[in-house]
């Protein structure tokens, strides 16, 4: 029997961790709603499980999403994730090949170099030794990068890194110790008994030349086991809880459990799945423009997890989705934030009964300008012209006494009240008998799609204009205007509409590519979701965003949202700010 007392710290840590994790996850999953549990059972044995496995490989191990932020950063995370994983898997295979029994104890593979007498060869033992050394080298290189990142984060593509708690720094130290200690233990063993490959073997000989490796190797295995044990014991209370949680979350996500508007068990999974990598920090314009450094998702989630006061952070978010878009763990950061916003409106049977049921003329196409659209009459006029040019008969739903779509309320947590407004608007839209609903406002667009359950085609006007052009109903002529497109948060990131605006702009102008194209667009600062910052702060944020776009020297800055347009128009600039519909109408 391969056994030595030094494996005890490792085994104790591992067993306690496993028990803790199983108990915790089972408890959370049990608190899922009946519907969610049903969904899980339905999807468990399906292709979705395979998809989840693939995602775990790509995200939890390879960390391929982080490569988007920076290849170095991606490599660093991959070294840890994939490296450690391979170390375990290859080590396990190695031990199996050697031992030929499937049921060797778990510590056997981990401490293989200790138990395996170096002179005893087995099939491919050299290959395994080489592989194990290579993997260890990979992890150590990642470790070096991580060290480097602590010192010079900017070089790894991060302007700011996460501020951690002292406890997290402790466990970070423990984590960082694991691999150097393993390296030393294996090297010392190799130095005294032989074995290992290019890395540990060479290092062993090197150490043997001036150290009493014979007497050092056994204590070093103790240290290695202890460090691992401590790490396992501390893990549930540290940010490294994300390692197991993320994997479970990926399964749950793939099996169809969704983050709703309430803070539920799936929210808890997300809370613990956040690795605090800090990639969201640089994305947040509240940080870059206003110097607010406590409201980014990494800190917000941290505060929730550690029961600190986060009342201000609940409100202080633009919900632009830039963080969510960049999050390597794919957490629903906006919804998590929303789940903390309380519903303050009191609903009675009289709530909003004052909203009249409007009589809407019937037509195949219905147009909804949105509240903000009425403050930008230029957009409405342009849409009217385009409808006319394309010969489309349409009905203007909110021409008179239009009401809010309800999304601003939802964004503030007031779902109950919003549902009444939604119902009223929905009736109006259905009464129009339309087959296509065109809206100028990306905010309305999102609600129509997500909350209205309308059985008709919902289009933002950029999509619609693109369709009219491709159908040959509009014939815009290309102009020489250099345009930069500001894709509104709700349109590009929120609904993935990135192609249509570009097609339209290419047809009427010469769009200038920017690093803010598509889903990487900035927030204009007008967001209704932020309930905290002052008008002055908003102005500053939008001024920064505007200047970022204007640095490409366009003739016109084009957007597709009345609110963005109004927000950008606050300051006097020589470059006009226009809606995409206006640009098309001018060039038709």
């Amino acid at each position: 029997m391969y056994y030595d007392p030094f494996v005890l710290p490792f085994m104790i840590g591992l067993n306690i961790l496993c028990i803790y994790l199983v108990v915790t996850y089972v408890r959370w999953i049990r608190s899922f709603s009946r519907a969610d549990r049903h969904t899980i059972l339905k999807n468990m044995i399906s292709i979705k499980t395979l998809r989840a496995c693939k995602e775990i490989f790509l995200e939890s191990l390879v960390h391929h999403k982080i490569y988007r932020t920076s290849p170095f950063l991606g490599y660093m995370h991959m070294c840890f994730g994939l490296g450690w994983f391979l170390l375990i898997v290859v080590g396990k295979i190695e031990s199996l090949v050697y031992h030929t029994s499937l049921f060797n104890p778990p510590y056997f593979a981990i401490f293989f170099r200790f138990f395996h007498p170096a002179n005893e060869a087995f099939p491919h033992s050299n290959v395994f030794a080489f592989l194990m050394d290579l993997i260890l080298l990979m992890i150590l290189s990642g470790l070096a990068l991580a060290w480097f990142k602590r010192l010079y984060s900017r070089l790894l593509g991060m302007k700011r890194t996460t501020r951690h708690r002292p406890f997290d720094r402790l466990i970070l130290t423990v984590l960082w110790l694991i691999f150097p200690v393993r390296f030393l233990a294996e090297s010392f063993t190799s130095g005294s008994r032989g074995g290992g490959s290019f890395l540990t073997h060479s290092a062993g000989e090197f150490f043997a030349s001036f150290l009493p490796v014979e007497s050092l190797s056994y204590p070093m295995w103790w240290v290695y086991s202890s460090v691992l044990g401590i790490f396992f014991l501390l893990l549930p209370f540290s940010r490294y809880m994300h390692i197991p949680t993320e994997m479970v979350y990926i399964f749950l996500k793939n099996w169809g459990v969704k983050q709703g508007r309430k803070f539920t068990a799936i929210s808890k999974f997300q809370l613990y799945a956040c690795s605090r990598c800090g990639i969201c920090i640089d994305q947040c314009q509240l940080g870059s423009s206003l110097g607010l450094t406590t409201t980014q998702p990494v800190y917000f989630l941290k505060k929730i997890r550690h029961h600190e006061d986060y009342s201000q952070e609940i409100d202080n978010c633009l919900m632009c989705g830039r963080c969510e878009n960049a999050c390597p763990v794919d957490l629903h950061l906006n919804l998590l934030r929303l789940s903390q916003r309380k519903d303050y409106t009191h609903i009675t049977k009289n709530t909003y009964t004052y909203i009249p049921a409007p009589r809407i003329p019937k037509a195949r196409v219905a147009y909804f300008a949105g509240c903000m659209g009425h403050l930008t009459p230029g957009v409405i006029r342009a849409m009217r012209q385009l409808f006319e040019k394309a010969g489309i008969e349409y009905t203007f739903i909110d021409e008179q006494n239009g009401i809010c779509c309800g999304r601003p309320m939802m964004l503030s947590g007031n779902y109950n009240a919003a549902s009444i407004v939604v119902e009223r608007n929905r009736t109006a839209i259905l009464n129009s008998g339309a087959e296509i609903l065109v809206t100028s406002c990306p905010i309305c667009y999102t609600t129509f799609k997500e909350n209205y359950h309308l059985n008709l085609k919902i289009m933002h006007h950029t999509e619609y204009i693109a369709q009219l052009i491709s159908q040959g109903l509009l014939h815009p002529h290309a102009s020489e205007l250099r345009t930069v497109f500001h894709n509104p948060c709700e349109l590009g990131r929120g609904n993935g509409i990135c192609e249509s605006p570009m097609q339209v702009l290419q047809a009427v102008s010469r769009p200038v590519p920017t690093k803010y194209d598509g889903k990487k667009s900035l927030c204009c600062g007008g967001s209704l979701a932020n309930l905290h910052i002052t008008p002055t702060q908003r102005s500053r944020l939008s001024e920064d965003a505007l200047n970022a776009y204007l640095s490409y020297h366009p003739d016109v800055l084009v957007t597709a949202c009345p609110l963005c347009k109004k927000t950008f128009a606050k300051n006097h600039h020589t470059v006009p700010i226009k809606d995409i519909a206006e640009i098309v109408a001018e060039n038709c």
Partner: protein, 346 residues
């Protein structure tokens, strides 16, 4: 000894008046104007408040004055470079190639009116029957007020504080003269359109000058101008091309909707492009509202932070004509003292 020479940028009201006073005091003046004729914003005005005098009379007077033999008028040109050798020596290059030299510099670059199309919800440039107060003066000059559809307007609304006192336009200042301009224009409208309904939409009526409050009373009492205390929030256009406006009648406490045949936006004042250019060229500090900051708000209103560079009129802040003329004369006095070396205060 050659007489001392003063360069004045901008031959508007302040520039012309200061030039004439300086010339009379024995200085020679180089007066630079970007337009073909002197007069500045006064050229756009038909009648003056509070006495309803023809603006042309004052304009002619100013134009006659600048024909003084000691004044050299350079029209249709703008400076491209200003060099300050020391406090008493300036050289200026004009875009027509001329080079002027002077011993003091007076900045009378005036103001520009707010670009009403920035206030998109009011629909200027989008709706046909939305005009600015400047355009209305033109209508008065032609003695004819018609809507875009060629009708005599039956209801006209004058909207105060367009581009002034508006955080949303980043203009926090009050343009001072728009209130009284609206009263004056409402009265002129009444004379041309005896049967029309004329309404002023205001946040505050600021009748600061002599005779202004009396004029306000007269507009209410004799001219039957209606005053609505409420700020316009948005406008839209109906099929008849009329403007449908929304405001709250705050004194009633209810939102109000109203159809106007013609809507006049009382555009406010902003620092002119010329002021901004000169300030940049000479590193003159600007006040938060974008106008040139005078040396001291009380006793050095015509000085700037740069010795030898003076400022007068609406380049420093919104002013009415009376104050502009007074300020110009005060500047002439200050420059005279500066050049003669007998300043009473620093």
């Amino acid at each position: 000894m050659n007489p001392m020479n003063v360069i004045i940028i901008g031959a508007g009201t302040a520039g012309c008046e200061a030039a004439y006073r300086l010339a009379k005091a024995g200085f020679t003046v180089e007066l630079v104007e970007k337009e073909c004729t002197p007069g500045g914003n006064l050229n756009n005005w038909f009648q003056l408040f509070p006495d309803r005098k023809q603006a042309s009379a004052l304009r002619q007077l100013l134009q006659q004055q600048v024909e003084h033999p000691s004044i050299r008028l350079h029209t249709d040109t703008v400076p491209v470079k200003i060099e300050r050798q020391d406090a008493r020596h300036y050289a200026m290059e004009l875009d027509n190639g001329a080079r002027l030299e002077g011993n003091a510099l007076l900045v009378t670059t005036g103001f520009r009116t707010f670009d009403a199309s920035r206030k998109e919800e009011y629909g200027y440039g989008i709706y046909e029957n939305v005009i600015t107060s400047v355009e209305l003066e033109n209508y008065f000059a032609n003695r004819q007020i018609l809507t875009s559809t060629g009708k005599r307007p039956e209801r006209i609304g004058l909207i105060q504080c367009v581009g002034s006192r508006d955080e949303k336009m980043c203009n926090f200042h009050c343009s001072k003269v728009c209130c009284i301009t609206a009263v004056k224009q409402a009265m002129e409208l009444r004379e041309l359109l005896p049967d029309a309904e004329i309404l002023c939409f205001y946040m505050d009526m600021r009748m600061f000058g002599p005779g202004y409050e009396e004029m306000y009373r007269e507009a209410q009492e004799k001219y039957n101008i209606k005053f609505v205390r409420g700020r316009l929030s948005e406008a839209s256009e109906n099929q008849a091309k009329q403007v449908v406006v929304k405001c709250e009648d705050t004194l009633v406490g209810k939102p109000m909707r109203m159809t106007l045949d013609l809507m006049v936006l009382m555009v406010g004042m902003e620092a002119s492009d010329g002021s901004r250019w000169v300030a940049k060229e000479l590193q003159l500090p600007l006040a938060p509202n974008g106008f040139i900051q005078p040396g001291d708000p009380h006793y050095a209103t015509n000085r700037t932070a740069v010795e030898g560079v003076f400022v007068a009129g609406c380049a420093t802040s919104p002013m009415n004509l009376t104050d502009t003329l007074t300020d110009a004369r005060s500047a002439a006095l200050a420059i005279g003292e500066f050049l003669n070396g007998n300043e009473h205060y620093n």
